[in-house]
């Protein structure tokens, strides 16, 4: 246990040092992280206004709160390694990583956390600015805020593991962009990114509970919005745990098969 902390400490230092080199890229990426929720915030505020102030139980200020919280949770949970894996495998960059006495996923986890902590320096001001611009209404009960803590961590785990599993497709195909796009389009509709899930037409909200995407993003947001009962919260946390377990199993299987294939490529 102590060893793993030491290892993470070292990986973390490396990641931070590397990422400090790309400060400009960080700001640029954040613009896209901020813009998408702002667009949907504006669209839905317009919808609420056109219906006399509220749509589907959300007022203009509720929508503002929803999408600002969504932006923060999105930032805390996202992972980008699926865009890198294709490159890693094609260029053989995976080989040195495989030689390390440590599963490559650990370096990626450290990378992910380091990036998020660093970019919070830009994210927090962005959230404050949006708060002043859109005046969100947010008044969650204390227990929901406390429950949001594990919910966000689990959401990050679900999202990281599922997207890492999808990234493994790069072992089999070079068309990874197409696969990523399918993943992201599905995610857009079922994660609450496009609209609060309650506003989607009939079977979609139900389908969303069966897929991992809600548990990877919308669930903590709904929790912070104070829209879930304690019972729904516990069920949600359980669903998150189940998805963490499922994707871990999937990841192990796909990783093993993939690495075997990769070795065959290099030989």
């Amino acid at each position: 246990m102590r060893r793993i902390f030491e290892v993470y400490g070292a990986l973390f230092k490396v990641s931070t040092a590397v990422q400090l080199q790309y400060r400009a890229s960080m700001v640029i990426w954040l613009i896209s992280t901020v813009l998408q929720p702002v667009v949907y915030l504006v669209v839905w505020s317009n919808v609420a206004e056109s219906r006399g102030g509220s749509a589907g139980g959300f007022t203009t200020t509720d929508f503002a709160a929803y999408f600002i919280v969504l932006m923060i949770v999105d930032h805390l949970t996202f992972d980008w390694h699926m865009w890198e894996y294709d490159y890693r495998i094609r260029e053989g960059l995976l080989s040195p990583l495989l030689l390390r006495p440590l599963h490559p996923i650990h370096a990626d986890i450290a990378d992910n956390i380091a990036y998020k902590l660093l970019s919070l320096l830009v994210m927090v001001p962005a959230a404050v600015a949006l708060t002043f611009l859109f005046r969100p209404a947010l008044d969650p009960p204390l227990w929901a805020l406390l429950a949001a803590l594990p919910a966000v961590l689990l959401a990050a785990a679900v999202r990281f593991l599922t997207s890492w599993a999808v990234a493994m497709a790069a072992f089999w195909t070079t068309r990874i962009d197409a696969i990523n796009n399918i993943y992201f389009v599905t995610e857009l509709f079922f994660s609450g990114r496009l609209a609060p899930l309650a506003l989607l037409p009939a079977p979609l909200p139900f389908i969303a509970t069966l897929l991992p995407f809600r548990w990877a993003l919308a669930f903590p947001v709904e929790l912070v919005m104070g829209r879930l009962t304690p019972r729904e919260t516990i069920m949600g946390l359980l669903a998150q745990l189940i998805w963490v377990g499922l994707s871990l199993v999937l990841l192990r299987l796909v990783w093993r098969a993939g690495v075997r294939r990769y070795a065959a490529f290099g030989a």
Binding site: V42, S50, A55, A178, N181, F189, L200, P201
Partner: protein
């Protein structure tokens, strides 16, 4: 005339190149279908809750989405790949091969790389525009058609000049690709009419990143909401940016020192 001939040559080259990778065509169809799904799905979800968004009817927004796909297709087919290649050439010093050709370097650089299959998006965009017009049911008057065509032309010119301005920066800065990432994510905001955004965002999307001119203004032209004064503004912006990017390009070219210098 020479310009058109060069354009044609590169189109043919791009066509022949892409024919080697026919699978890409099907991948592109999948990608286009997905972006169509995102656009139409978004509209469906929104209009499930309301009848009008910021004064736009569903069918009018359908036309806007068509223009969004059309313009995006043009960007992704010619402008983006050519400029990416240009920036890479500057970084590697291989731009020499372009500069030694006896034609205008800006023209060569702008049309050199064509991703033919992206034309699927252009076709899709056109189809959506036609469907939207049929559903709106009103006949498009010749004036309206003219306004639309002019606005679209200006939008294209503005987007192209903007892209060239940014790409030209690569003569001084090694990595400017990231700035183009900003444009791409900002272009997504064009899927909705910029008039619904708050003032500060509208200004950003009009003057800092010209999404408004690329999508919203032509759409307004098509559905008969554009006045001649608005069009005049777009034309002025188009001409100004074309001249500006040309001048900037020439300044940048002087800063280029080649691979071995």
């Amino acid at each position: 005339m020479t310009y058109l001939r060069i354009l044609w040559i590169y189109f043919r080259l791009g066509f022949l190149n892409e024919l080697e990778y026919r699978i890409n065509f099907f991948v592109q169809i999948l990608q286009s279908a997905l972006s169509l799904l995102v656009a139409l799905g978004g509209l469906a979800v929104v209009f499930n809750q309301t009848d009008t968004l910021g004064g736009w009817q569903p069918d009018e927004l359908l036309a806007l989405v068509g223009i969004y796909l059309l313009m995006g297709g043009i960007i992704n087919m010619v402008i983006n790949p050519s400029m990416q290649r240009f920036m890479e050439d500057v970084r590697k010093g291989t731009l020499d091969f372009v500069l030694t050709k006896p034609e205008d370097a800006q023209l060569l650089v702008s049309v050199r790389q064509i991703q033919l299959w992206k034309a699927v998006d252009i076709g899709l965009g056109l189809a959506l525009i036609l469907i939207a017009l049929a559903r709106i049911g009103q006949r498009v008057s010749p004036t309206q058609a003219l306004l639309f065509a002019l606005a679209l032309l200006c939008g294209g010119a503005i987007v192209y000049s903007f892209w060239l301005l940014l790409a030209t920066l690569s003569f001084w800065f090694v990595k400017v690709e990231n700035i183009l990432v900003i444009f791409r994510s900002m272009y997504q905001a064009g899927r909705w009419p910029v008039t619904i955004y708050p003032q500060w965002l509208q200004v950003t999307l009009t003057f800092i990143v010209p999404v408004a001119f690329a999508v919203t203004v032509p759409a307004e032209g098509l559905i008969g909401r554009l006045t001649w004064a608005d069009l005049l503004q777009a034309v002025a912006a188009g001409i100004l940016l074309l001249v500006l990017s040309r001048l900037f390009w020439r300044v940048g070219l002087r800063a280029y020192s080649g691979a071995s210098a």
